[in-house]
Symmetry: C2
Subunit: 356 residues, 2 copies
């Protein structure tokens, strides 16, 4: 049989506990659908700094490179926040994205019916919101040259933001293709009235657009987009943007749905390989208490099944199970209205596995 290799990076904080539940879902999928997964755990982030002296050990990279997909829990925490750059979890995150060629970060943001009330937005504004932010992930100011130098005005720090046509083209094509499978609307976000990289971005997106005549393209300035997400979230379908803008806007979009503890993300490269992780962070404050919400990580497995393996039936089964468990009223503490009725991480994982 076709054995799929999955690298498992549990990471820090609540990472290990939410990933453990996702692994139960993998196991249950094998039983139900006859698929076979071979999982291999690897150290990454804060725990790798502690145990190996670097956030991204070479063997972790190799485990990922020899896998078909990666499942990541979460990384980081206050313990490593004041470390020097090379000893910070974030540096590992940027490193793994670059090393694996994951140039595209796909962040769906939508409303879970049962969580409508969790948003700070009015329900009537939120109604129908279902969007995907496609964020360029290996270019821009994140990866440009950085340095300090002395000037007459004291020390100066410099970051460089660069984009070439090839980088913009591939992410634009991917966003157009995703839009074609959805409501066929693409908003390309830039700051073309100020930035040269944005002007090249806009020119390139316009050039690519002729290959996707069925997709309606609009250009939105980043400041305006931050406003329109609040004003008319449901009018967006697919949003494509560069690395830094995507970081800000995808978090804003996730938060406005009120479902941030439930959202999955995929980071993709050229082929079918992908890294999947929940949108939420490592939540060090509740790590180890057994109360974290494993749903976003479990839904990351469903996203992996769809985008990397094409196991749509199994993905459906997971997503249906999550819906069923939520509809039955089960909640972890983060999404419970009545906190005294909240169930723990293990219980939530088990309920979903049983419902598959």
């Amino acid at each position: 049989a076709d054995v799929k290799k999955i690298a498992i990076i549990a990471g820090d904080g609540i990472g290990p506990e939410v990933v453990a539940e996702a692994e139960k879902v993998l196991k249950r999928t094998e039983e139900l659908f006859g698929y076979q997964f071979e999982t291999e755990h690897a150290l990454f982030g804060g725990i790798a700094i502690d145990e190996k002296g670097t956030p991204l050990p070479q063997e972790t990279l190799e485990v990922c490179q020899s896998a078909d997909a990666v499942l990541l829990g979460a990384v980081g925490g206050p313990k490593w926040d004041n470390n020097s750059k090379e000893l910070r979890p974030e540096t590992g995150l940027l490193g793994i994205r670059k090393a694996l060629g994951l140039f595209s970060n796909i962040r769906p943001a939508f409303i879970f019916d049962c969580l409508k009330e969790a948003s700070t937005l009015k329900p009537e504004v939120l109604e129908g919101t279902d969007l995907i932010v496609v964020r360029e992930l290996t270019g821009g100011i994140y990866f440009g040259e950085k340095f300090r130098r002395e000037t007459a005005n004291g020390q100066e720090a410099v970051d460089t933001c660069a984009y070439n046509v090839t980088e913009i083209e591939r992410i634009a094509r991917q966003a157009f293709e995703i839009a074609q499978t959805r409501r066929k609307k693409l908003a390309s976000v830039d700051k073309a009235n100020v930035l040269e990289t944005s002007r090249l971005w806009r020119e390139t997106v316009n050039r690519i657009a002729v290959d996707y005549p069925d997709v309606e393209l609009e250009h939105v300035l980043v400041d305006n987009c931050a406003m329109q997400l609040l004003r008319r979230p449901s009018s967006f379908d697919v949003i494509v943007t560069e690395n830094m803008f995507g970081d800000i806007l995808s978090d804003e979009a996730a938060m406005l749905t009120g479902s941030i503890g439930m959202l999955a993300s995929a980071s993709l490269g050229e082929g079918s390989f992908g890294l999947y992780e929940p949108v939420h962070g490592s939540a060090p404050d509740i790590a180890g208490l057994g109360i974290s919400n494993p749903i976003a990580t479990i839904l990351s497995v469903a996203l992996m099944f769809r985008l990397t393996f094409g196991y749509h039936e199994a993905a459906d089964s997971i997503e249906r199970a999550v819906k069923e468990v939520l509809d039955a009223g089960h909640r972890t503490g983060d999404i419970a209205v009545d906190k005294s009725q909240a169930i723990g991480t293990l219980a939530m994982g088990q309920l979903i596995v049983d419902a598959m």
Copy 2:
């Protein structure tokens, strides 16, 4: 008597009509309080491109430089959107900020009682929201070197983001000082886990902080801030951040109050000189129809009185008049629930002048 010189830049779109109402408020202030203003109009933005071939004519700069303060309506519009860089209104905006040394943009965002319902946020979330975004305005990626070059991957565009210690110090001090006059809370926003400019920003803010022990300082990452503004807007007092982040976050903050048509802003330099303008844009779609809302521009005059002239009594009078007119139920179309009852620009201006 002490005659204050005010440069008036009406600009494009609805700029001229809203500025005209603000000028009536200036006149009324002279009558009521005995102050004297000398106003001089100057061309700027799109209209300056059309009439003088440049968005920021030298004589406009001179009018501003010889004034005590500048009142700006709004600039830009689709007519000039596809012009080359030197012939775009935005280029004038960046130019005037730099030429006048306006390194700080102050954007208060708060709720007008009568407009609570206009926000897309739930009223209980919004309750008590009253914050100021202090945006660095003459540094960062807006003003860094920009260019294109050929690479193996096609054309590449480059923007440079630079900040020196002096630039960060002066904006940080100003933000701390503003916080001291308010709830004494300062959130400094950066992306210190990725950017070198942000690391220098954070170090510098921390160093300055010891001079303001009464102000509670927190550091917030920009992506997290975009979320927290949505989650807990009322918990923010003063937010200080660099140019690009400030552009995005100040617009998000303004929009979430639901009062974007009502908010004023100030751009300040070293002394008392300042440029004052409404937060909203030039709204070319409704320009000339006489239906635009002059309140943000009128409140910009009040802000000018406070920050540049120290005319607090006159500022109070304007702000009270605006409140009175709104409380009496008068609305322009943008803020009217029943659009058929909306009044025009002239009527709104006159009501406010009469109520002073």
